[in-house]
């Protein structure tokens, strides 16, 4: 029988395609209401920490160095009140095989795909994850297809995304490039159906659990070198996987470390807008993914996302594009390290957050990412300028995404701006009730308290206001 391949027909086959391509029967973890058994899902479909370490270390992933940024710390102390300015560290995830922490997620996904007997993997991403999956597929001898949102309707692509396409191809993947739009998912489903390959989703339990080794390593490396866990970890936040996995890994190490999420502020820009696509200078790590995925994680390409960042974040801060570009340049000039830029979102936040902390405290950024032609501040700023974005020195608090990029006229102007987490928690609870259209059970209320890192009382109070 020939299946209809129009948009609606393909989307209606989503559940069936997903089940076949991920190999997880998510219904096993459902309660039939709002709640589902997250920990059971992670336990039964993921891998233990020891298994993941074994898988990752066998393919050269993980055990990345922790770098202390002494000159950046000195700069922060020059901007901080007397006695303030925590030591700033960075986990150099760029030294993973594909140049980012995503290698951890990919190593597990691809290992799992191979174990289940799949001949290849498909992934939908314009980011570092594509290269990570391509790299791991190459190591494991599997085929790889990366579906990428790349160009606007004029055929213009951001230099950063073009570079990521090149890297995926260099690592042997077929790169299917698309113009702007959420229907990328439609082509993704068609490819899964056509090839019978594994869906190397970013949001499966094995993908997320793959990041647990990152949090665990941070704790172990700190204990060994400095005799204690770091006081705070900052994760660049988009889909929430980095933060979720890092937090779970830290918990497995028994660390009592504060978890802070950071995203580039792209408020006002619509992520699916053809006209605004090339007006933003960040393709990941920004609020356009970070906010919606934190306030409602089950919007990904799997029925239940294993990335549930609101469960773990103690604070969520935003940072302006100009601040991340500035700190990226500072990292090169003061520390001799060319990284990022998108991965330096958390670093820009850490630079500001360190100034709130005491000098004997420590703050670590969970990742760096590789840099190269296209994926570098110079081409990204010059591309922005060519697209009519004004770039100038001033106060980044006044930056308007899509209109200008304001580089701080002094590093003391770099500020981490808090997102209202109470509002975000309420929003998640409301969305849950609206989505499932049920009267929340006792189990649902407990689940929502865990989901929002709040309390049963907070959930009940929020439910009353709906």
């Amino acid at each position: 029988m020939i299946k209809a391949n129009d948009y609606n027909s393909v989307m209606s086959r989503k559940a069936e395609i997903m089940l076949k391509s991920v190999g997880i029967d998510y219904s096993k973890f459902e309660s039939g209401s709002i709640a589902f058994d997250y920990e059971k899902m992670m336990r039964e479909t993921g891998y233990s920490l020891e298994e993941m370490q074994k898988i990752q270390y066998s393919v050269g992933v993980g055990n990345t160095p922790v770098l202390e940024l002494k000159n950046l710390t000195a700069l922060a102390r020059k901007c901080a009140p007397e006695g303030k300015g925590a030591r700033i560290f960075m986990k150099d995830e760029a030294s993973n095989p594909s140049g980012s922490f995503k290698a951890r997620r990919a190593a597990n996904s691809v290992y799992h795909a191979k174990r289940l007997g799949f001949k290849g993997v498909v992934t939908a991403t314009s980011g570092n994850y594509g290269a990570a999956v391509a790299s791991q597929a190459a190591i494991n001898g599997l085929q790889c297809i990366v579906v990428q949102e790349c160009y606007d309707s004029k055929g213009v692509g951001q230099p950063e995304i073009i570079e990521k396409a090149r890297k995926c191809e260099a690592l042997g993947a077929e790169v299917v490039q698309l113009s702007v739009g959420p229907e990328l998912f439609y082509k993704f489903l068609l490819l899964l159906e056509e090839t019978g390959y594994f869906n190397a989703s970013l949001y499966t339990p094995f993908g997320i659990a793959g990041v647990e080794t990152l949090g665990y390593e941070i704790s172990m490396q700190f204990r060994e070198k400095y005799g204690k866990d770091p006081d705070a970890v900052v994760c660049t936040n988009a889909g929430g996987g980095n933060l979720t996995g890092t937090a779970r890994g830290l918990a497995k190490a028994g660390a009592n470390t504060r978890l802070i999420a950071a995203s580039v502020n792209l408020s006002g820009l619509h992520m699916a807008s053809d006209g605004q696509f090339n007006k933003k200078s960040f393709t990941t790590g920004h609020t356009g993914f970070g906010m919606p995925f934190a306030s409602w994680p089950d919007r990904s390409d799997v029925p239940r996302s294993a990335a549930r960042p609101l469960r773990y974040m103690e604070r969520y801060v935003t940072i302006a594009q100009g601040e991340v570009f500035y700190i990226t340049e500072v990292l090169a000039r003061l520390e001799g390290l060319e990284k990022g830029p998108a991965g330096n979102t958390a670093l820009a936040a850490a630079f500001a957050l360190a100034q709130e902390m005491d000098q004997e405290q420590t703050i670590i950024v969970s990742e760096t990412e590789y840099t190269g032609a296209g994926k570098h501040i110079q081409p990204q700023l010059s591309f922005a300028r060519d697209n009519g974005i004004e770039i100038f020195f001033g106060d980044p608090a006044e930056e308007v995404p899509g209109k200008n990029i304001i580089l701080p006229s002094h590093p003391s102007l770099i500020k981490a701006r808090d997102v209202d987490l109470v509002h975000m928690r309420r929003s998640l609870i409301k969305t849950a009730v609206n989505t499932y259209q049920v009267k929340p059970t006792e189990a649902d209320i407990e689940f929502l308290a865990e989901e929002t890192n709040s309390s049963v009382e907070f959930v009940i109070e929020t439910l009353k206001s709906i």
């Binding site: 790889c144 160009y151 570079e163 299917v176 490039q177 229907e183 807008s273 053809d274 570098h376 501040i377």
Partner: protein, 99 residues
């Protein structure tokens, strides 16, 4: 004439504007969803012809032939003078004695 077996790039419309998903913003709804892919040309053809390719994963994909021996041109962009100003500023703050 581009020969069978050459490495080429194709372009194809996947969804016409009228077929786009209901949730896309107005400006995106006005344009089609386009696709680009690369592979080995399956029969002799000219630029602009409808062709079939075999991709590196062994898939057959069809579309309009737009490029032969495609290559990347992305680079390090044009000079951005602000970056040198940042360097100068932070060097002065950290090593120049300013407090």
């Amino acid at each position: 004439m581009i020969k069978k077996g050459e490495w080429v790039r194709i372009h194809k419309i996947i969804l016409e504007p009228a077929e786009r998903a209901p949730q896309v913003p107005e400006d995106t709804k006005k344009v089609p969803l386009e696709m680009w892919d690369k592979g080995f040309l399956q029969a002799n053809a000219n630029i602009g012809d409808d062709v079939t390719i075999e991709t590196v994963t062994g898939r057959q994909e069809s579309g309009t032939l737009i490029e032969v021996n495609p290559y990347y041109e992305h680079d390090y962009g044009k000079f951005v003078p602000e970056l040198l100003a940042i360097d100068k500023q932070v060097m002065e703050i950290v090593f120049g004695g300013e407090k």
